[in-house]
C-alpha cells in the first residue's frame, strides 16, 4: 500500500536542515504500523510526506500503486481527499460546524450532495456512538468524543490509509485506550493505518513499530499487540 524508496528531505532555512536521510519503508495493505522517535527525529516530516502535505526532495513514494511526486495542488488535494484519512492530535474540527457537518466536510469536497452526505456522516457517527451528539458543536464535546468525530471524518470517504498523528496525545489514559481500541477495530476492517507516536504504550498496540532516529530508520520491530494488556500499556 505504501512504498518509500530512499526519501530525502531537507529544510532550507538559515541553516539547511537535512531531516530525512533516505527512508525505505513498505507497508502492506491492512497493516497497522506505528512510527516512533524522539522529537526532531523526523517522524512528523515523514507523516507530512506520507499525507501529501509536504514535498520530498529525493526518492519515490508510491501510494496505492501511484507515484506521489511533484503533484499539483489540485492533484494533491484529490489524493488526500480520496486516499487518505487524517487524525490529528488536536482533532482539528471546525469549531463553527456541528459534529455532523464536520464529518460530512470531506464528502462536500467530493461533490456529494447534501442529503447523501449527511446520511453517510450520520452512519459513521452512529458507528462510534455519537448519534445523539450529531448536532453539537465541537466545544460541547469531550476530548474522546472529539477524537471519535475526527475518526469518523477520516473514515467517511472510505480512504485507503489512515494517518494518525499522536491520536491520543491530548487525551487521558482511559480515553486513550478507548480511542486505540476504535483504531484497532477500524484496522481490523482492512484499512491500512500509520500512527505516529512517542508513547511506547501506544506503539505496543501496533503490529509493526518503526523506530526513527536522526532522519533514518533505526530498526523495524515486529510486535504482537494481542499479547499486550491494554490497561497496562496505556497509563
Amino acid at each position: 500500500m505504501i512504498k518509500l524508496n530512499n526519501i530525502n528531505k531537507t529544510y532550507f532555512g538559515a541553516q539547511p536542515l537535512h531531516v530525512l536521510k533516505g527512508i525505505n519503508l513498505d507497508v502492506a495493505e491492512g497493516e497497522l504500523v506505528s512510527i516512533m522517535g524522539a522529537s526532531g527525529s523526523g517522524k512528523s516530516t515523514l507523516l507530512n510526506i506520507l499525507g501529501i502535505l509536504d514535498n520530498y526532495d529525493e526518492g519515490e513514494y508510491y501510494l496505492a500503486g501511484k507515484l506521489v511526486k511533484n503533484l499539483s495542488e489540485n492533484q494533491a488535494a484529490e489524493f488526500r481527499n480520496k486516499l487518505i484519512g487524517f487524525i490529528f492530535q488536536s482533532f482539528n474540527l471546525i469549531p463553527f460546524k456541528t459534529a455532523l457537518e464536520n464529518v460530512a466536510l470531506p464528502l462536500f469536497y467530493q461533490g456529494v450532495n447534501r442529503k447523501k452526505r449527511n446520511m453517510m456522516a450520520m452512519e459513521y457517527l452512529e458507528r462510534f456512538g455519537l448519534k445523539d451528539w450529531a448536532d453539537h458543536y465541537p466545544n460541547e464535546l469531550s476530548g474522546g468524543q472529539k477524537q471519535r468525530v475526527s475518526i469518523a471524518r477520516a473514515l467517511v470517504t472510505s480512504p485507503k490509509i489512515i494517518l494518525a498523528d499522536e491520536p491520543t496525545g491530548a487525551l487521558d489514559s482511559k480515553t486513550s485506550a478507548e480511542v486505540m481500541q476504535i483504531l484497532r477495530e477500524v484496522n481490523a476492517t482492512g484499512i491500512t493505518m500509520v500512527i505516529v507516536t512517542h508513547e511506547r504504550g501506544i506503539a505496543n498496540l501496533t503490529r509493526k513499530i518503526v523506530h526513527l532516529k536522526d532522519g533514518i530508520i533505526e530498526s523495524i520491530e515486529e510486535n504482537d499487540p494481542d499479547k499486550m494488556d491494554f490497561t497496562k500499556e496505556i497509563k
Partner: protein, 421 residues
C-alpha cells in the same frame, strides 16, 4: 457556484462574527448610498434646469439683420438692410431642412409711457407681428379664444392676441376678454385670444406674456412697412444640421441683399442649441464629478472589506489548512473567499441602493408636491440605467475586495495549519 450548500458555507462564516460583518459592510453600503443620493440630486438639478427651458423649441435659430460691415458692389459699409417676405419665399424654395420659418416684426415701447389701453386702464407693453407658426417655436398655452390664424394673415385683420399679463393689467381677470376692443399705439384691435408662455424664462424680444401679438400682415399695414419685417426664426428639421442651415441661409441672404460674402457682421445669428450644449457640458461635468466622488467613497468601503477579510483569513489559517488537508482544492478556497466578499458587498450594496432610491423617492414626492415656477430641483431620482450600472459596480467591487484575501488564503498550506504551535 451559488448552490444552497455553498451559500450555507459562506453564510456561516459571515454570520459567525455579525458585528464585524455589519461594520465592514457599512463601508460599501455608505459608498453606494452616497453615490445614489448624489446621482439623484444631480438629476434633480438637471431636470429642474430642463424644466426652465422647456416649451421652447431647442432646435430653433434666430437671424436678425444688422448693418453691413464690409463695402461691397458699390455700397458703402455700415449700410442698413431689411428682410422682406420674398426672402422667406426664397428660403422656403431653395433651402431644404427647415421645419418652421417664422418672420417677426416687433415694436418696443418707446419711453415707458402707457401704450395699450382698454377704456381708461392702460399698460406699457411691446408689440409683435407674427405668423401662426410662431406658436411652433415659442410654445404658448391658449387661455382664451385662439392664436393668430391664416385667415387673420390673409385679410390683415385688425385682431390681436394678448399676453397673460397684458390681459390681467389692462382688461382685468374679472372680464371675458374675447371680442373686446383694445387700443395699442393708437389703433384699435379686437381681442381674439389670451396666451401664456409655457416658459417665461426664455423669450425672444420680451416674453409673450407681456406682448400684444398681431398678425404680421396687420402689423405691416399699421406701421407702413410694406412686406418688410424685422427678424425671423426657423427650426431645423430632424436629420439636418443647424449650423449648416444657418450658413446656407446667410449665403442666400447675402446674394439677395448685395452683402459681401465675407461679411459676418451683417447678421446677428444665434441658436438655442448653443445654450443647450453649454448646459449639457455643465451637467456632464457635474455628473463626472459625482461618479468620481461616489466611486471614491465606494472604493474606501471596498478597501475596508478587503482589509477585514485579510484579518479574517489570518484568523482562519488553521480552519483553511484543515479544509485543504481534507481535500479542498485551491479553486474551492478561492471561490469561497471571493463568494464571501461578493455576498457581503452585494448585500450591503443592494441595501444601500434600495435605501438611497427610497429616500430620493420620498424627496422627489415632497418636491413634486410643492410646485413653484422657480423650482430648480425636480424629480431627483436615478434612472434604471444608473441603477443597473450601480449594481454592476457593486458586483465588481465585491470581486475586487475579494482578490487580495483570496490570494492570501491559497497561500495557506495544509501543513501550516496543522503544525502544532
Amino acid at each position: 457556484m451559488f448552490d444552497l450548500d455553498n451559500i450555507n458555507e459562506i453564510w456561516q462564516t459571515i454570520a459567525r462574527n455579525k458585528t464585524r460583518s455589519i461594520l465592514t459592510a457599512f463601508g460599501v453600503f455608505w459608498g453606494i448610498f452616497i453615490l445614489v443620493i448624489l446621482l439623484a440630486c444631480g438629476n434633480g438639478f438637471n431636470n429642474g434646469l430642463q424644466s426652465q427651458i422647456e416649451g421652447f423649441a431647442t432646435n430653433s435659430s434666430f437671424m436678425i439683420p444688422t448693418n453691413t460691415t464690409v463695402a461691397y458692389k458699390g455700397y458703402q459699409k455700415d449700410r442698413e438692410w431689411q428682410l422682406d417676405m420674398s426672402d422667406m419665399e426664397a428660403i422656403k424654395k431653395k433651402i431644404k431642412g427647415i421645419d418652421d420659418l417664422s418672420p417677426i416684426s416687433s415694436r418696443w415701447t418707446y419711453n415707458g409711457e402707457n401704450n395699450v389701453f382698454y377704456g381708461i386702464k392702460g399698460g406699457n407693453f411691446s408689440m409683435k407681428g407674427v405668423l401662426p407658426n410662431y406658436n411652433e417655436i415659442d410654445r404658448c398655452k391658449v387661455l382664451y379664444g385662439r392664436f393668430i390664424n391664416e385667415a387673420d394673415i390673409a385679410d390683415a385683420r385688425k385682431v390681436c392676441v394678448l399676453g397673460k399679463k397684458v390681459y390681467e393689467d389692462v382688461i382685468g381677470t374679472d372680464k371675458n376678454p374675447l371680442g373686446l376692443m383694445i387700443k395699442a399705439n393708437g389703433i384699435y384691435y379686437q381681442v381674439v385670444g389670451v396666451i401664456e408662455a409655457y416658459n417665461s424664462k426664455v423669450s425672444i424680444m420680451g416674453s409673450v406674456n407681456e406682448t400684444v401679438v398681431l398678425p404680421l400682415t396687420t402689423m405691416q399695414v399699421a406701421y407702413h412697412t410694406g412686406n418688410k419685417f424685422d427678424f425671423f426664426m426657423f427650426t431645423t428639421a430632424s436629420g439636418y444640421n443647424t449650423k449648416g442651415l444657418q450658413a446656407e441661409v446667410k449665403t442666400l441672404l447675402r446674394e439677395r441683399h448685395d452683402i459681401a460674402p465675407e461679411d459676418e457682421g451683417a447678421f446677428m445669428c444665434f441658436d438655442l442649441e448653443d445654450v443647450f450644449t453649454m448646459f449639457d457640458y455643465l451637467f456632464l461635468g457635474i455628473k463626472i464629478l459625482i461618479w468620481i466622488v461616489g466611486i471614491g467613497t465606494l472604493l474606501s468601503g471596498v478597501v475596508g472589506v478587503s482589509n477585514i477579510m485579510l484579518v479574517t483569513i489570518k484568523e482562519r489559517t488553521r480552519e483553511i489548512g484543515v479544509r485543504r488537508a481534507l481535500g479542498a482544492k485551491p479553486s474551492v478556497i478561492i471561490r469561497q473567499v471571493m463568494a464571501e466578499s461578493l455576498l457581503l458587498t452585494i448585500l450591503a450594496g443592494v441595501v444601500g441602493l434600495v435605501i438611497g432610491v427610497a429616500i430620493m423617492a420620498v424627496v422627489s414626492g415632497i418636491v413634486g408636491n410643492t410646485p413653484s415656477e422657480d423650482m430648480m430641483f425636480l424629480d431627483p431620482q436615478i434612472g434604471f440605467g444608473a441603477a443597473i450600472v450601480a449594481t454592476i459596480i457593486i458586483v465588481l467591487s465585491g470581486l475586487l475586495a475579494g482578490v487580495l484575501p483570496a490570494t492570501r488564503a491559497i497561500q495557506i498550506k495544509a501543513i501550516d495549519a496543522i503544525r502544532e504551535e
